[in-house]
């Protein structure tokens, strides 16, 4: 089960990385980056569920969600001003 | 609108967040939470408030709204999954302008966010005219059929949101609009 979850997350991450590298525009790359961060966050949650120390690891997820949101919005503002 | 109604709700919310972060709902923790909440509200008080906050709250209708919204969230993901997996996705996009009927910014925000998480729709832009007429939400649709379907879906969302968060006057006005629409479509068919 763990293996299945990891494989699926890897495939998802690969998809987002593809979009991040290919573009073709900057917003496409932001979509890829934000998705990649979400996949990493889900990976942390899955790992935290398996480990005995899960309660502490979960705090990092909280911060990561914030960072993802702030980052995406900041990039959006950048796109608005500076273009592609 | 009515800062006296808003303030306790904000304090309660912030204290809850505090308690949730510490995982501690004991008396000492809650008192500390209230103190921190008051401090935050004090230093963060807005210089110019005009209608952004949701002014009323009806718990039962809010639950209905959250329930409907959760079901929609699941359905939207099922639809995305189906479109992704099927060998020939029938994507037929469009950008539809959907005018709102209530003027409250808070409700428009709630509806615009909810639209993003419902099947097939995504909020792209919101135009808010300065002169107090309702805002217009621009919705991007994946599988477009016709404009009226999109507007009807969003109206349904708006209706539930107003029931949950709107003032009596807003609810009354919206119900009238919904009834008028229903009567029109009855007459047409």
């Amino acid at each position: 089960m763990n293996f299945v979850a990891v494989v699926m997350l890897t495939i998802g991450a690969a998809g987002f990385v593809y979009r991040l590298l290919r573009g073709p525009s900057l917003p496409d790359r932001v979509v890829g980056l934000d998705g990649l961060l979400s996949v990493i966050v889900i990976g942390i949650i899955v790992a935290a569920a398996r480990s005995s120390n899960g309660g502490i690891t979960v705090e990092t997820v909280l911060v990561a969600v914030f960072v993802g949101f702030v980052g995406t919005t900041a990039l959006a503002r950048f796109i608005e001003r500076r273009g592609n | 609108m009515t800062p006296t109604v808003r303030l306790p709700a904000l304090i309660i919310w912030l204290t809850l967040v505090w308690a949730f972060l510490w995982g501690d709902f004991g008396l000492a923790s809650l008192v500390a939470g209230v103190a921190v909440a008051l401090f935050i509200v004090w230093i963060g008080r807005p210089a110019d408030v005009h209608g952004m906050q949701l002014t009323s709250f009806h718990p039962l209708s809010a639950l209905v709204f959250i329930g409907y919204f959760s079901v929609q969230l699941v359905k939207s993901n099922l639809q995305v999954a189906w479109t992704v997996i099927s060998p020939r996705p029938d994507v037929h996009t469009a950008l539809v302008a959907v005018p709102m009927h209530v003027v409250s910014e808070g409700i428009v925000t709630v509806v615009a966010n909810a639209v993003t998480l419902t099947p097939g729709t995504l909020t792209v832009d919101v135009h808010e005219p300065d002169d107090g007429t309702p805002a217009v939400i621009y919705v991007h649709v994946l599988q477009f059929e016709d404009v009226e379907t999109v507007r009807a879906d969003v109206l349904q969302l708006e209706r539930l949101a107003v029931r949950a968060f709107g003032t009596k006057q807003q609810r009354h006005d919206l119900e009238e609009i919904v009834a008028a629409r229903a009567a029109r479509s009855e007459g047409a068919s």
């Binding site: 998809g15 593809y18 496409d28 979960v58 796109i79 | 949730f20 995982g23 993901n77 999954a81 217009v136």
Partner: protein
């Protein structure tokens, strides 16, 4: 109870995978945003619920509850900010009706 949590975690991963495939398969920016805004959101929620059940402590449950609420609030707003900014900078292919462009042109 544990298998239910496992199922949720796997479902969350599956949904994340679908989101990743979606951004590759869809042809234009806005369609990709459909996948990128909806799939990771629900995936995160499912995984968080599964992890909360599996870890079992109150602290983990409350923290994950906060994560869910934050994700629900921030994901659509982020997508909206990005869509709006992108439209100002580039034209996106739309198959059918496009009322935003016509509205903007009539305002100008």
């Amino acid at each position: 109870m544990d298998t239910f949590a496992e199922v949720l975690l796997v479902l969350g991963s599956a949904l994340a995978m679908i989101g990743g495939i979606g951004v590759v398969r869809f042809g234009d920016l806005f369609s990709r945003m459909h996948a990128a805004a909806k799939a990771p959101t629900l995936a995160l929620i499912l995984a968080a619920i599964g992890a909360a059940i599996e870890i079992g402590t109150l602290l983990a449950a409350t923290t994950l509850a906060l994560v869910v609420v934050l994700q629900l609030l921030s994901s659509p707003v982020g997508a909206h900010a990005l869509s709006r900014a992108s439209r100002r900078q580039m034209t996106i292919a739309i198959d059918d009706v496009d009322e935003l462009t016509s509205d903007e042109h009539s305002d100008l």
